[in-house]
Symmetry: C3
Subunit: 106 residues, 3 copies
């Protein structure tokens, strides 16, 4: 997620939920990686904060890019509780594809 657009954030969350419903939550691993202008999805004041909490309860991993956070002077105190962190969102996305994960960019 690299867009600063709550409609996109909701779409990504819909995608994740639909995928779990369609194939069964036990049969798919899902990660949402927020970076660049998309980092707002995971800030404390995010309009989709409640949905992020629900997604994490449903075993969807939600990750913030620490490169982006540094660039925007954000600390973990500025971010939603319970999310995960990766040093660079772009590396995470590349690595997962290398491990055979599909990439979806809504």
């Amino acid at each position: 997620m690299s867009d600063n657009d709550p409609a996109k954030w909701n779409l990504a969350l819909n995608n994740a939920r639909n995928l779990q419903e369609d194939v069964g939550a036990a049969n798919v691993d899902i990660e949402i990686v927020a970076y660049g202008p998309g980092i707002g999805m995971l800030k404390l004041e995010s309009p989709v904060g409640a949905r992020i909490a629900d997604a994490m309860k449903a075993n969807i991993k939600v990750m913030a890019c620490e490169n982006t956070m540094r660039g925007q002077k954000l600390g973990k105190d500025d971010m939603l509780n319970g999310i995960s962190y990766v040093p660079a969102g772009v590396t995470e996305i590349m690595k997962k594809q290398g491990e055979g994960w599909a990439y979806l960019r809504p």
Copy 2:
């Protein structure tokens, strides 16, 4: 296709045509999957309806997401003739990547 933007719809159709011209239509399988706000690409009143018909004649598969249609209260009568349907666009995109297809998100 998850954008509600006719310029993007034309770009996706250009991509498909260019790919067929570049490598030979017999040498590549192409699917366009419309979901979320992109579903308008495949509605009866779509401004790219004629191009969709041409694409299907050129053996490009065009698929609408039934999850999205349910959410937007759309039936098959509301959609362009001759298109295909998948239960969940996101699953289709994930599965195809698992089978070795490339993913292009214009």
Copy 3:
């Protein structure tokens, strides 16, 4: 890169630099492919021209789609010095994924 949006162009360039910093420039090959409305990223008057030059110095390959150039009546004289060209951007992106490259669409 298929968006006509300098903010996206900068984001793509940030992604490339962050990836090199995170995994080491010697350990990753990066290509930026500009096509469709994204071709402006590589025109002579591009607002990110200096960053493109820096990226190429850092061994990031930067490629313009000749299909798009033909459609927009652009010649190589209209484009930034030192960039590379591919007959069709879409084919390049598909081929690289077939060779195991990850795809990132910021």
